[in-house]
């Protein structure tokens, strides 16, 4: 299978690019931030839903387009360029994927269409520590009668305070389980932080929260393997957004050094900057390949999809860090002022590279898979 976009995927990407060019910009990003860190723009979100982006990864059986993650990846790459804020990651990439991977048909039929239509928002409650560590979940679910009792403390729940439901990953008898829990359930306490990227991430305490057993998402399927698939998909999806951000930051920087003059010359004439720019170009070419490969490997269910999604998140984390640092440095004094937009990419980079595991985490996973 060739490593290129299909014609449909290309069309989708181009349409997304056009739509976002007229509906999203760093100016809107700044406006949301200055408006007390507003999570997203309702109109933009409605537009995304109308464009069908929320339906891309929903199977046809639930009313979706079943277009695949390569498609969603193209959308996320485009949103990464303007840092468009929306519940696309929390509700669709994270939550809808989690539900889809599980096997509770009742919950799937009920909630996938709702998520797709944007009628409700969901948030994934997975992290528990300062560092990503999905293999050591301390939150627990215990059956008591025909109800489950959930206990635990979750962190980094993206868009947690906007959500109607949490998808909570817990340890049930040393296996992973997934529960759908109403945010208004008794025993839930939510506190939210604004992180460096202006995003809203919640800490959620589950204190003896009682959940009907019908709300358990994985019935027969092994929760550990669902979690593995979920992590592959989220890594590839986040890497797609990172790819978009990286390209935008790089382009803005190239534009800047072609225009800005110092010592009587365009600063882009400096050979040392040219060589650094050329190296960035090469690294970004590598990033394009691994993101596309990770997405396709998921859609085609290739055996190496685990390795490729780890590689995608690791490589993109590395190169996005390099790109944003170089972007600031090449912008010079302007680059470190809040007046300039380039800093937004730096700050988003450090959060998204950490989200769902940083470069070291993912490289370590690959080394373990390969047995060294």
């Amino acid at each position: 299978m060739p490593l290129i976009l299909t014609d449909e995927e290309k069309m989708l990407k181009e349409a997304a690019n056009e739509f976002l060019a007229s509906n999203s910009s760093l100016k809107s990003f700044r406006k949301l931030r200055d408006n007390n860190y507003q999570s997203f723009d309702q109109d933009l979100w409605k537009g995304m839903i109308e464009m069908g982006w929320t339906a891309l990864t929903i199977p046809e059986a639930y009313g979706g387009l079943d277009f695949g993650y390569t498609g969603l990846g193209q959308i996320l790459e485009e949103t990464g360029k303007t840092l468009a804020k929306s519940p696309l990651i929390s509700s669709i990439l994270f939550s809808a994927t989690a539900i889809r991977l599980c096997d509770n048909e009742n919950l799937k039929s009920k909630w996938l269409p709702e998520l797709m239509k944007g009628n409700i928002l969901m948030a994934l409650a997975l992290d528990e520590k300062a560092h990503f560590d999905p293999n050591n979940i301390n939150s627990t679910a215990k059956l008591s009668g025909n109800k489950y009792v959930i206990n635990g403390k979750k962190k980094m729940v993206l868009d947690g305070s906007n959500a109607d439901y949490f998808i909570v990953v817990v340890n049930e008898a040393n296996m992973t389980s997934f529960f759908l829990i109403d945010v208004k359930s008794k025993g839930i306490e939510i506190k939210s932080d604004i992180l460096m990227d202006t995003g809203e991430y919640s800490s959620v305490v589950f204190n003896k929260v009682s959940v009907a057993s019908e709300n358990k998402l994985n019935i027969k399927t092994n929760g550990d393997s669902i979690l593995q698939s979920l992590l592959n998909i989220t890594s590839a999806g986040l890497a797609s957004e990172m790819l978009g951000s990286m390209q935008a930051a790089f382009e803005k920087t190239m534009d800047y050094i072609k225009e800005r003059e110092q010592f009587g010359n365009k600063i882009g004439k400096n050979q040392s900057l040219q060589h650094r720019a050329a190296l960035l170009f090469c690294e970004i070419e590598l990033c394009k390949s691994i993101v596309l490969k990770a997405l396709k490997a998921i859609d085609n269910d290739e055996t190496k999809k685990i390795e490729f999604s780890h590689l995608a998140k690791a490589k993109l984390g590395e190169v996005l860090k390099l790109t944003t640092n170089e972007a600031i440095q090449m912008h010079g004094g302007i680059g470190v002022t809040d007046d300039a937009d380039i800093g937004f990419y730096l700050k988003r980079a450090r959060v998204i590279q950490h989200l769902m595991g940083d470069k070291n985490y993912h490289l370590n996973c690959i080394a373990k898979i390969k047995g060294y």
């Binding site: 600031i328 004094g333 730096l346």
Partner: protein, 397 residues
């Protein structure tokens, strides 16, 4: 060395120690937490504690605000040896600097070397007494690293200079009383030859200031605008059109400061923070890739500190001046950026918090963002590498 002199110096050390013990309040011996605990003086001085005021006034009376300047300029007239002893004793007790001042660190050396005797007598004592808060007007919005490309012009109007233009990165221009400033006084000659060094009262009509917000949040930096500002001709320091000589003299001074030379802040080692924040097995960090990065970083950090020591020792031993200020500026700031990158990795989620909460003040993320300016301000890393290549390695231009 002369035995008599040695005994005198030993006596000076004992007296100094005793005086400091009595006159430096206990709270003034604790490390400064943030800039709000610094006293900067000025026309509207703000003491943030009674102890701060007492400490400043005691030192002022003792003439130890600038102990090594001549007495006629308000200094303490100490010899180089005595000054070293005073510095050592203050750092032994942990005494804070009684007055933070660009007048002492930056303008003073320039005036001492380039000003008329009248100017020295006029400005230096006010600096020592903390009466005037000085700021520095070098960079301009359009010039960036090309400092000598500055465009703020001072036209000779006979009785005064008429100043128009703007400056950027003027630290605390919003609080300062006076600015020492580089202006263009000749457009027709090569850019380095048409610059002059001039002093401007910030309360003059036509001066306005706008604070700059950085990617890390608020900052002490400002933009300063001059619109038909009239400055007396007597405010010129040094010769007309020879300001670049003064600027170079001060810049090499500044580079050493930013590069971390002379700063004796005790920072926690990165691996200690890692051990507090990350999981270990049998005494080793589980995150072996991060461990490798930390080991590499600490190697360079330790050796850089030894290098500062070596160069200082070489300078002291009379080896010819080593021209290494660009090296210090470059390597020191690049290391600091690496340090901050490591720290946010070590802190994980906790170091990404931006808006302060009860548990988290958001300082880690803001310090991280702020560090990105280190390799730009005071001459970019690229400028420093150019200087090393040309002035030290003599590579062709």
């Amino acid at each position: 060395m002369d035995t008599k002199l040695n005994i005198d110096l030993e006596n000076f050390r004992l007296e100094t120690r005793a005086w400091l013990e009595v006159n430096c309040p206990a709270s003034m011996r604790k490390p400064i937490k943030d800039s709000s605990e610094m006293f900067w003086g000025g026309r509207n001085p703000e003491f943030t504690s009674q102890d701060q005021k007492i400490w400043f006034e005691n030192m002022l009376e003792k003439k130890w605000i600038v102990p090594y300047w001549e007495k006629k300029y308000g200094g303490g007239g100490l010899s180089a040896e005595e000054n070293i002893i005073l510095t050592q004793e203050m750092s032994r007790l942990g005494c804070r600097r009684p007055l933070f001042s660009f007048g002492i660190a930056m303008l003073g050396p320039a005036l001492l070397k380039f000003a008329t005797e009248e100017q020295k007598l006029n400005y230096l004592p006010e600096i020592v007494e903390g009466k005037i808060w000085w700021c520095q007007g070098y960079s301009e919005p359009g010039a960036g690293s090309d400092l000598a490309g500055l465009q703020t012009k001072a036209e000779d109007m006979g009785e005064y200079y008429l100043i128009n233009g703007s400056k950027v990165w003027t630290t605390y221009a919003n609080k300062a009383d006076w600015m020492f400033c580089l202006v263009r006084t000749d457009n027709k000659v090569s850019k380095h030859n048409g610059i002059s060094f001039i002093l401007i009262d910030m309360s003059t009509k036509g001066v306005s200031v706008r604070p700059i917000k950085l990617i890390s949040g608020k900052s002490p930096f400002c933009e300063t605008f001059f619109e038909n500002v009239r400055v007396p001709k007597s405010n010129l320091v040094g010769n007309l059109n020879e300001g670049w000589t003064i600027a170079k003299y001060l810049l090499s001074h500044e580079r050493k400061m930013i590069g971390g030379v002379g700063v004796t802040e005790t920072k926690k080692e990165v691996h200690e923070l890692a051990k507090l924040n990350l999981e270990c097995s049998s005494g080793q960090l589980n995150n072996s890739l991060l461990r490798a990065d930390i080991a590499k970083f600490e190697m360079d950090e330790t050796i850089f500190e030894l290098t500062i020591q070596r160069i200082i020792d070489e300078d002291k031993s009379g080896k010819k001046a080593s021209q290494l200020s660009s090296f210090f500026k470059y390597y020191g700031t690049e290391l600091n950026i690496k340090r901050e990158e490591l720290l946010i990795q070590i802190g994980g989620n906790n170091s990404l918090v931006w808006t302060p909460t009860e548990e988290n003040d958001g300082n880690a993320a803001r310090k991280f963002c702020r560090s990105k300016g280190n390799t730009i301000e005071g001459g970019t890393s690229e400028i420093q590498l150019n200087i090393i290549a040309k002035r030290i390695l003599n590579l062709p231009t």
